[in-house]
């Protein structure tokens, strides 16, 4: 598809250009509206997601080298603030926090308080990649799309302001194109930015996706976007789609995984998988949690806290004195089958957005795209054998 054929990617008369020096104005506009800005910043040798006090804390000029089992910061030759991928955290740290109180009760006074210990701030998420925009949409479905709405997620999601940043530089572990959710973004954001740094001219092509976004944009110094610049931005994103580090064969994936339940391949993965759960921690859609009830010493005051959990944990499937999934094989099979297969049955879409974090952050470099290819090859070989056996 040629860029000009896609009507959604046509230059919009709403797109404006915001120079990088005006990012502080973006912060002012957001904070003036009561938002706490959360975005990428350099910390502990990685680009993490954190509350940002000012635009200066953005990782200008920092990029990353990623590969299976590898993540390193590197200095860029330009000043791009969003030229990185596959960081160890995702926006679920904010919307679906690792620790949240569900309720607190005192049986002496007879009082019961529902909800988090303190009301969470309204967050502005700055720098949400298209894969992560899709991930937020997936969490929306899991946690608010069913019969019951998760109150913690709802409380944070409802007030959130999302500033997406399209990708012009995919990482080595990226495959958002295969999953149909990048490197450009069409919806699910209040503002969408495309970062351009050519000719030392650091600027953003910005468009609003909602009225709230347009409202913020109106407060930031900007100039009308000329067609050439917009065309440049569109092309950069479209070309990024051709340079993905990896691909995922998505055709028939749920059926492949369902058919592979007894595959010998799980033994192979199990010989490499440490069941450390890193993949579930960094994955932007992994949502599993557990609960913990705590009391004070008198036993009269009790609270229930919800914590992140991982299907790789040995007691995740604990039942009647033992766990259902004790072997490493069964736990890896559960994770990948859920993510790429049964997620469709449960929530109507894939659970994977192709962000590549699990590949980068796996200590033994297990690559989810390669595991799928291996399963597909085994399946093809098995089918070929069956065909041969037929008279």
């Amino acid at each position: 598809m040629q860029p000009s054929d896609d009507p959604a990617r046509e230059p919009s008369d709403q797109a404006v250009i915001v120079d990088a020096e005006e990012l502080p104005a973006l912060f002012d506009a957001l904070r003036g509206r009561g938002y706490t800005v959360v975005g990428p910043t350099v910390r502990d040798g990685a680009i993490v997601v954190a509350e940002l006090a000012s635009a200066a804390e953005l990782p200008f000029g920092w990029g990353v080298e990623t590969e299976a089992g590898r993540y390193r910061l590197r200095e860029r030759s330009d000043t791009a603030a969003f030229g990185h991928s596959a960081g160890p955290q995702s926006w679920k740290s904010v919307l679906h926090p690792a620790r949240a109180r569900l309720w607190s009760a005192d049986r002496v006074t007879g009082t019961m308080e529902a909800g988090e210990a303190a009301e969470p701030p309204r967050y502005a998420l700055l720098g949400v990649r298209p894969c992560d925009v899709r991930a937020v949409g997936i969490l929306d479905q899991v946690l608010t799309g069913g019969q019951h709405t998760d109150p913690v997620y709802r409380g944070r999601r409802d007030g959130a302001f999302i500033i997406a940043v399209e990708c012009t530089e995919p990482g080595a572990t990226c495959f958002c194109t295969s999953m149909g959710c990048g490197p450009g973004v069409e919806s699910g954001f209040d503002l969408a930015m495309t970062e351009l740094t050519d000719a030392g001219n650091h600027r953003f092509v910005v468009r609003a996706g909602t009225a709230a976004g347009a409202d913020v944009l109106a407060d930031i110094p900007s100039r009308a976007a000329d067609e050439a610049t917009v065309r440049h931005a569109v092309t950069a994103v479209d070309e990024a789609a051709e340079r993905m580090g990896r691909t995922m064969p998505v055709q028939g994936l749920p059926q492949l995984l369902a058919d592979s339940r007894e595959s010998p391949h799980w033994d192979d993965v199990a010989s490499r998988c440490l069941t450390c759960g890193n993949c579930t921690m960094v994955c932007p859609t992994c949502f599993c949690t557990t609960t913990e009830d705590v009391t004070d010493l008198t036993g009269d005051h009790a609270e229930r806290w919800r914590l992140w959990d991982s299907c790789f944990a040995l007691d995740f499937s604990y039942l009647h004195g033992g766990s259902v999934r004790t072997s490493g094989q069964s736990r890896y099979r559960q994770w990948i089958t859920h993510k790429l297969g049964t997620w469709h049955d449960q929530f109507g879409s894939s659970g994977c957005v192709g962000c590549g974090r699990c590949i980068a952050w796996c200590p033994t470099g297990i690559d989810i795209t390669q595991e799928v290819s291996a399963l597909a090859s085994l399946q093809d070989a098995a089918t070929a054998d069956e065909d041969e056996d037929r008279p």
Binding site: L314, D315, Y318, L319, H320, G321, G322, S323, T326
Partner: protein
């Protein structure tokens, strides 16, 4: 229950795979026997010289356990066969059997049936084909009972994996 042994034998699905003539031969070794509730058929250790096809009622298999008395290990109902120790040496009962309820049976002379099996391998094979599924099924269900599936986790001895959280 009325009717000839042959007719009653044909009415039971247990020996359905036998040919008519094989069933006829088997019937020659059979007699109708009834038991009142509580009547003992045989003792553990006794000579296994008969086997029974249960038509109505119920039989309890038991074993004398010092300190526990007579322990029932299994009960058998209509349509199934009681006794297979007659099939092989030393032809001794491993358990006792007592009628739980008023029970009607067809009782067979084991020694005579064994002689027929030796003389006619086809007949012998047909008898074994009828008996082995019963033996397999009882072994299978016994193994399941050994799993003690209804036990609470603390009652089952196994390696403890994970915290007890429920």
């Amino acid at each position: 229950m009325t009717g000839t042994v042959a007719a009653r034998l044909s009415a039971q699905p247990f020996f359905a795979a036998l040919t008519d003539s094989q069933r006829g031969e088997l019937a020659e070794d059979g007699t109708a026997v009834t038991f009142t509730a509580g009547e003992r058929l045989f003792d553990e250790g006794g000579v296994a010289d008969m086997f029974w096809l249960i038509e109505e009622g119920g039989i309890a298999l038991d074993m004398r356990v010092p300190g526990r008395g007579d322990q029932i290990v299994e009960t058998l109902g209509p349509g199934t066969v009681l006794g297979w120790s007659w099939l092989h040496r030393p032809y001794r009962w491993h358990f006792g059997a007592v009628a739980r309820l008023a029970t009607t049976t067809l009782a067979f002379d084991a020694a005579s049936v064994r002689r027929r099996c030796d003389a006619d391998p086809a007949f012998g094979y047909a008898m074994l084909r009828a008996f082995t599924p019963v033996i397999t099924e009882r072994l299978q269900t016994t193994r399941i009972r050994l799993l003690d599936l209804y036990a609470a986790p603390s009652q089952v001895r196994h390696a403890d994996i994970g915290p007890v959280n429920a």
